[in-house]
């Protein structure tokens, strides 16, 4: 029985580097990883909580704006670390990625493994297409998720390997 996992690519393809999350999702979907569902999401928080409900492990990819150099990849193990509330600057909804993770933590609804990849964006203007550094980071995150997904689950809910 394949493990139940999900990759959630969050963002807006029409706001340049904010499209990083959905583009990782598309790259992974093309590779058809067994046992791993792939979805794109706008970042609306309750929909994210529904998306990872029941998953043994979840990977969430979103563009971030923390002030680091564009293309920098941040990896957050949500079971071990809090998600900075101002990290996902371009999630304009009042209840978005960081709020969804913290709400799920309070309610005890975090998946056994929730890994968040934040890709530092450079250009969040209107239009399609990524800056070169972010495009390279999309490839890197795609590769890292494939590697992580292939490894047995070792995190704190750990028995689901």
């Amino acid at each position: 029985m394949a493990e139940r996992g999900i990759v959630i690519g969050v963002g807006n393809l029409y706001r340049r580097d904010d499209g990083a999350g959905p583009l990782v999702a598309r790259a992974l979907r093309a590779g058809a990883l067994p046992g791993l569902a792939v979805m794109e999401a706008s970042g609306e928080g309750t929909a994210l909580m529904e998306a990872w409900a029941g998953a043994q492990r979840a990977f969430l990819v979103d563009a971030v704006s923390s002030g680091a150099r564009p293309g920098r990849v941040h990896r957050i193990d949500a079971r071990r670390q809090r998600v900075p509330q101002d990290f996902f600057k371009y999630s304009t909804h009042a209840f978005a990625v960081a709020e969804a993770v913290e709400m799920a933590r309070v309610l005890g609804d975090l998946p056994p493994v929730l890994i968040i990849y934040g890709i530092e964006g450079g250009d969040f203007g209107s239009g399609e297409g990524l800056t070169a550094e972010v495009a390279a980071a999309v490839d890197e995150v795609t590769r890292r998720i494939v590697e992580e997904a292939a490894a047995p689950v070792t995190s704190h809910g750990g028995e689901h390997a």
């Binding site: 909580m49 304009t92 009042a94 309070v106 309610l107």
Partner: protein
């Protein structure tokens, strides 16, 4: 002379970017500004030259919270311009889609954005630590709204299944029937929500509003109706521009609305309730009565109760519409363009979303006008703030600031829509 200011640089738990500035001159409120600084996005200009069929999907991108309002208002306006009447089955499906948006938006606002104010929490996450089951039920209740949007619209945000004339694909009877058990749970939970919010502590504050909402006479308004007010406005939607005028004020990137007499008006749940209460249906009406709502509610803080009553209505209406659903022979009526002007007004969760388009014989858009309800409510929010803070001048800045933010959230403002708009600054002197 001393000047005291209260500022909120960036108002939390609203959609979009805005600020509040209040200046006191001694004990007198000198100035109140709801400052909307989200950059305008010039949607009306970019619509010119585009095909009439593109207006619903383009304008839906104005907002991720109430895309259905834009889809629906744009469709109705274009159908009017082209002289087309939609089939009754399509009309019913549009109402059902709107039920989904009201449930999704209202439940998010009631529990995640507004309830923490009344209970003294900085946010819903802190509230969830003490009320986990309440929050869990809220998330489940919101989800049924998302599900309606997904079944009818193709996905829960920015639906992709709506077109001028109807839908690309009508849902199957089975797909809608599958939603019934969860909607039946939602009906009980929605009534429980009304009881819960009716018990919250409310500041003693009333205003003498001119309420404006759609009124059609036979049903609680979503997609249809003339423009009506509690002070005598009663015109078809094609005369909207004759009775409500937009004007630019320097402190806001969102246009303000005034009546012909220069007054400000109140749109949204309290307005719809004041003008259409008898059409809520027995369940929602009973919930309103149990919660102590009279014929008209004038305390804006109690809008959270009216919003909860509208959730009961939306759930019951969804159950009724699904019960009567027959798969239509065609998902849309054909629409051929012709030169003309069309008007569309529908009830977004936070009030009337008005569209006007002029198209040419080829269906290309020559002129577009869009008015979002938050933009209309801006003037009313400032009026409320002025009246609210005047007798509270002795309050400490922090407490006053918190109350003012709560007051603004009474309107569930959608700043992104209005700037197609919030930050509190109080100056004391």
């Amino acid at each position: 002379m001393t000047t005291r200011t209260i500022d909120v640089d960036y108002i939390a738990r609203v959609e979009g970017e805005g600020a509040l500035y209040i200046r006191f001159d001694g004990d007198r409120v000198d100035d109140v500004q709801l400052r909307i600084f989200e950059p305008p996005r010039f949607f009306e200009a970019l619509l010119r030259g585009r095909a009439f069929t593109e207006a619903p999907d383009i304008t839906a991108r104005i907002c991720g919270i109430c895309p259905v309002a834009y889809l629906m208002s744009a469709c109705h306006a274009m159908e009017m311009a082209c002289g087309v009447t939609i089939d009754p089955e399509i009309r019913a499906l549009r109402r059902l889609l709107y039920c989904g948006e009201w449930i999704e938006s209202h439940v998010l606002h009631i529990y995640m954005l507004h309830a923490p104010d009344f209970l003294g929490y900085p946010d819903a996450i802190s509230m969830a630590k003490d009320y986990p089951e309440t929050v869990r039920n809220a998330l489940r209740l919101k989800k049924i709204g998302n599900q309606l949007m997904t079944v009818l619209g193709g996905r829960e945000i920015h639906p992709i299944n709506v077109r001028v004339g109807g839908f690309y694909k009508a849902p199957s009877r089975q797909a809608l029937d599958a939603l019934v058990p969860e909607l039946e749970w939602a009906r009980d939970q929605a009534r429980e929500t009304v009881r819960l919010v009716a018990g919250l502590p409310f500041p003693d504050f009333e205003q003498d509003y001119e309420f404006v909402a759609l009124r059609q006479g036979a049903e609680y308004p979503f997609n249809e109706g003339g423009l009506a007010s509690t002070r005598g406005i009663d015109v078809p939607i094609s005369e909207y521009d004759d009775v409500l005028h937009e004007q630019h004020l320097a402190h806001s990137t969102s246009l303000h609305t005034r009546t012909a007499g220069g007054g400000v008006v109140h749109m949204g749940p309290m307005a719809r309730y004041a003008l259409n209460r008898e059409l809520l249906g027995p369940g929602a009406l009973a919930a309103a009565e149990e919660a102590g709502l009279g014929a008209m509610e004038r305390n804006p803080f109690r809008s959270i109760i009216v919003r909860a009553v509208e959730v009961v209505f939306a759930v019951e209406e969804a159950l009724r519409l699904i019960g009567e659903y027959r798969e239509p022979d065609r998902p849309a009526v054909p629409v051929e363009p012709r030169a003309g002007t069309g008007y569309g007004a529908t009830e977004a969760p936070r009030g009337i979303c008005y569209h006007r388009y002029t198209i040419d014989d080829d269906g290309l858009i020559q002129d577009a006008k869009i008015v979002a309800p938050t933009s209309v409510n801006q003037g009313m929010i400032e009026s409320d703030l002025r009246a609210f803070v005047a007798p509270r001048v002795d309050m400490a800045d922090d407490a006053l600031r918190a109350d003012c933010e709560q007051l603004i959230r009474n309107y569930d403002p959608c700043i992104s829509c209005s700037a197609h708009f919030l930050k509190l600054e109080v100056e004391r002197g």
